[in-house]
């Protein structure tokens, strides 16, 4: 389902109840949008605020679909968030981790259908069904990250947030994930990410929003930003050129 994300007057507050971040946003026709900040923690903060995960925020975050509009503060059925690390419930098996959001949002789907979808998604990343019976603590960081990604993908959300999507993944799975992101972009699923490496993703993005410690600087496509970086954006641009990971 094609959707647009519209954020109005999103304000987060410091511990002293002073506003420390204000943001307005409209995804418009863009399907793959990047959030880049000179400070990695700040880019994660902005992404989580956009996903409605920052408690105490005010403003509105609306996901507009064909006939409906939902607030991301209240309804998460149509969106998914992939964390840079962790994110799986440690007291549940991998299968239970998959079934938790499935059962919550889609209780009428049959058990067989759910298992089939889960196995199909694991096959995309060359994981066997045996992993379903493991506990997250027994998984490597890479497999744990893949499980987290698969858990979101099986629900077929209209909006996906990626927080450092390639972190902990080996090169083979980074490339698989990148191909999936490109495929989802063609299917017009709205995807918003942060990353501090993998420049190919920046080139693939329709739009990048650049910040300096949560202060908005500019936005545009990677080719135009990287060709003529401003004084404030040069640090971000150079960090991607220097990491030696030009794919």
């Amino acid at each position: 389902m094609i959707c647009n994300l519209i954020i109005r007057d999103l304000t987060t507050y410091s511990r002293k109840y002073e506003p420390d971040f204000r943001f307005n946003f409209n995804s418009n026709d863009d399907r793959l949008i990047g959030i880049l900040d000179s400070d990695e923690a700040s880019s994660s903060f902005i992404l989580r605020a956009m996903a409605g995960l920052n408690a105490g925020s005010t403003g509105s975050i609306s996901l507009k679909m064909d006939k409906t509009s939902v607030s991301l503060f209240e309804e998460k059925k149509y969106s998914g968030f992939i964390f840079s690390s962790g994110g799986l419930l440690s007291n549940l098996s991998v299968l239970e981790n998959f079934l938790l959001p499935f059962n919550f949002h889609f209780p009428d789907v049959s058990e067989n259908e759910k298992i089939e979808k889960i196995e199909a998604m694991l096959n995309l990343f060359d994981l066997s069904r045996e992993v379903l019976y493991e506990r997250p603590a027994n998984l490597s960081y890479s497999v744990g990250k893949i499980i987290q990604i698969c858990r979101i993908y099986v629900l077929e959300p209209s909006l996906i947030f990626y927080e450092q999507p390639f972190m902990h993944l080996d090169l083979k799975h980074q490339n698989k994930l990148f191909n999936l992101i490109s495929e989802y972009k063609k299917k017009e699923i709205l995807q918003i990410f942060t990353t501090n490496f993998y420049p190919a993703l920046l080139r693939e993005a329709d739009r990048l929003l650049l910040f300096s410690k949560r202060e908005y600087i500019e936005e545009g496509e990677w080719t135009s930003i990287s060709k003529n970086p401003s004084e404030k954006t040069i640090e971000i641009v150079e960090s991607f050129k220097e990491n030696g990971n030009e794919n």
Partner: protein, 255 residues
């Protein structure tokens, strides 16, 4: 989650607001009950069933000590109605609830605080929020219900075991049939005494689970915070226990 600025009042109000949210959400919609049923059952098994051994030991010992001490200080203690009044007052109305609650704090309170603290560090709480599942509804409420049900049951069990312990020891001083023992006990026991015991366990259960859960959720990003919050959970739970025990007793005797 609850340590940030979602509440713009003084931080002193954080826990009362949390407690209010838990109490108002105690009866969950069917959608969530399906997901949390397993958690509720596991909590009852851990808090209730697995504590039966230690509760039996404590209860039996307390019941026996009452007889031993009573007979040492008061002649014919076991043959007077004062004996039964002591059992009702000390065991049923006070120690049953408090000692059971202390054991639950030591076992379950620490476990809840530690588990939720670890979840907080590993982004598991935020993962639940990102899936649209309220951490309060999924993590805190089934645990609260489980602790409350277990504490009420354990408190009744404690009282029964203490009575059995008292009866067994009393046979060393003066033989008495168990049915006679119970009959004499029920002459002193009032329905309001049972109600007091159960209501104390109910309130203690809510306090222990919510204080431990709240402290666990306060853990930010450092693992060193987990033992600190666990200690706070234990200390604050014990403090709340004592304060509410006094308040409930005052209310009971005023009404």
């Amino acid at each position: 989650m609850f340590s940030d600025n979602s509440n713009k009042l003084h931080p002193l109000f954080d826990y009362p607001i949390f407690l209010f949210a838990v109490i108002t959400d105690l009866f969950q919609p069917a959608k969530l009950r399906r997901l949390t049923y397993d958690i509720l059952i596991k909590q009852i098994l851990f808090t209730g069933y697995e504590a039966l051994g230690i509760i039996s030991l404590f209860a039996f010992s307390i019941g026996a000590i009452i007889i031993i001490q009573g007979n040492s200080n008061i002649p014919n203690f076991g043959q007077s109605t004062f004996f039964y009044t002591t059992l009702v007052t000390v065991v049923l109305k006070e120690l049953g609830g408090i000692i059971t609650a202390l054991i639950v704090i030591a076992r379950s309170g620490t476990a809840i605080a530690t588990e939720l603290g670890n979840m907080s560090i590993n982004n598991e709480i935020e993962a639940l929020e990102s899936m649209g599942i309220s951490p309060l509804a999924y993590l805190i409420i089934p645990r609260t219900l489980g602790v409350v049900i277990s504490l009420i049951t354990l408190s009744i069990y404690f009282s029964l075991m203490a009575l059995v312990g008292s009866w067994l020891l009393s046979n060393f001083y003066f033989p008495i049939e168990f049915t006679q023992f119970l009959s004499d006990l029920f002459e002193v026991l009032k329905v309001s005494d049972l109600f007091l015991s159960i209501s104390k366990s109910f309130i203690f259960g809510i306090l222990i689970a919510t204080i431990s859960g709240y402290q666990g959720l306060q853990v930010a990003k450092a693992t060193t915070e987990i033992p600190q919050r666990t200690i706070k959970a234990v200390v604050y739970s014990i403090g709340a226990l004592i304060v509410f025990d006094i308040l409930i007793n005052i209310l009971y005797y005023l009404l």
